[in-house]
Amino acid sequence: MTESLRSVSIHVPVLARVEGEGALDLRIDNGEIAELRLRIFEPPRFFEKFLEGHLYSEIPDMVARICGICPVAYQATAAQALEKLFGVELDPWARDMRRVFYCGEWIQSHSLHIHLLAAPDFFGCSNAIELARIAPEEVRRGLRIQALGNELMDLFGARSVHPVGVRIGGFHAAPALSRIKEMRDKLRAALPEAEALVRWAARIPVPQDDQGFVSVAMRHPDGYAIEQGRIGVSDGARIEAEAFDDHFAEHHEPFSTALFCTYHKRPYLVGPLARLNLNHAQLPEAIKALLAETGLELPSRNLFHSLAARAVEILLALHEALRLLENYRPPDSPWVPVTPRAGVAIGCTEAPRGLLWHRYEMDDDGRVVSARIVPPTSQNQGRIEEDLRLSLLNFGLDQPDDALRLHCEKVIRNYDPCISCATHFLRMRVART
């Protein structure tokens, strides 16, 4: 009893090895959480402001620079928004290849997160190098899958980091059939590896947690939504991208330079587990059978199933890329002409980390008047804090400080926040009162 009423202050001043800068403050007074803040103090990047005045044709390459891990998401969302405003009907080839391109990004980003960032937590390892010591085959397999994702991005983007293949109206170029044939062989060869990855990921012992939360992900009647669809919510709501502001609101907290986004004033989850929770019925039958074999039940209320969800989406992305490349023929032209017009362009896709929403106000010449981008991490920020509270209560506030810190880190990394390209906190200061 005495132990449960202790007061603890855990301050993690810098999230080390991160893409971006953040920190965690946790104070427990008399056995209750008195303060819990995920602080993001990286200076604002003003990216939306940079876009103002630029021509529509420059936007895909500019927004690709927002993220080194998920540039395709930014390109595809901007292109979708502007093409909708300009009344562009994509060639079916370009529409399919946008999805293939996106699949490459899901494969590389998810594999990176599983093997290099999240999995070490569940094996008592402090990093991927230690994990490679005890699970070398699994790490090698992960690196192979990640490299294949990069190769797929390179095929359509000319390079995998900050690719430059997308243009408004399609792609700048179409890969030759010979390169597609090589890629198909590689994708086929990767299928059994990805199936083994799903089995492995589902067997990883994770904390048992049970939380009620709102899942938000795009949905599409024709298949598992990636690059198009409407916004779906686990409460049954279906929302057009244009109506985003009627349901979601961003607000500023003084301790964070990233905006917090809420759904009718409640935190919500975006990302692989939210997608799988809402769209698992649309998985290919082979993947459903594999899921049944693993025993992973959906929808899941345990956020620690996010790692397995990423593995499932890797397998899905391989299936999708193969399906769409099966009858590949280079098009007469990889793009259609575009005539800009003034108005408001809104787009929405599923980045590896979750829903990504763009809004552009354009002038008659096709230049950006104003831009607004809502990335997945700002949407998950409130949910991460909520998860930390619930998860810590479930874990037990009377646990040793080191265990509490590690548990907090696990919870945060589980979301693969974009501020965190990496894994572990650098320093922790514990003060007792």
Binding site: V14, A16, R17, V18, E19, G20, G68, L112, L116, L117, N127, A128, I129, A132, R133, P136, E137, V139, R140, L143, R144, Q146, A147, N150, S160, V161, S420, C421, A422, T423, L426
Partner: protein, 163 residues
């Protein structure tokens, strides 16, 4: 299995272009990708460095470093003396040393690995590299070119592996 892979790591931020400048200087000296040689500029490759080690017998990596020396100073490290570093130089989780250590755990390192660091000063985004960095890149390229000309041998019994 006797490929030489030369990698210049960098970014467009001032002196951080040291690795790229070294590759440029090697190209000026006539070193080109072709039979048995791969020469590349990479921008913070992370784990993507590891697939490059496949079929590589000799890996040469040039990267910017911030140590105790003056800007432009060149240091060579072999596997027994890789520099330790704190966080702050790479905003990405997996730096060059991390990637090489991971490759080491996976048994993927080539038989010969030369890691060169060029001491840098400023890394302001968009700025030009300093004169000392340009000179160091030229010196290092000449040194690497001489080594390539004199050839190398793989120690008996060691074969590079890649999983």
């Amino acid at each position: 299995m006797n490929r030489v892979c030369i990698v210049g790591v960098g970014s467009p931020s001032g002196d951080d272009q040291a690795g790229w400048l070294t590759v440029d200087a090697l190209l000026d000296l006539g070193i080109r990708s072709g039979d048995g040689v791969v020469i590349e500029k990479l921008d913070r490759p992370g784990s993507a460095l590891i697939p490059l080690l496949r079929s590589t017998a000799w890996l040469i990596v040039v990267d910017a470093m911030q140590g105790e020396g003056e800007a432009g100073q060149i240091q060579r490290f072999d596997e027994t003396g890789w520099p330790h570093y704190g966080h702050g130089l790479s905003s990405h989780g997996l730096g060059v040393i991390d990637a090489l250590m991971l490759a080491g755990e996976l048994g993927s390192l080539p038989p010969r690995l030369d890691l060169y660091g060029i001491e840098i000063a400023g890394t302001t985004p968009g700025s030009s590299p300093g004169r000392a960095i340009r000179a160091a890149a030229t010196r290092l390229a000449a040194m690497i070119s001489d080594q390539l000309a004199s050839g190398f041998s793989i120690p008996p019994g060691t074969q590079p592996g890649y999983g």
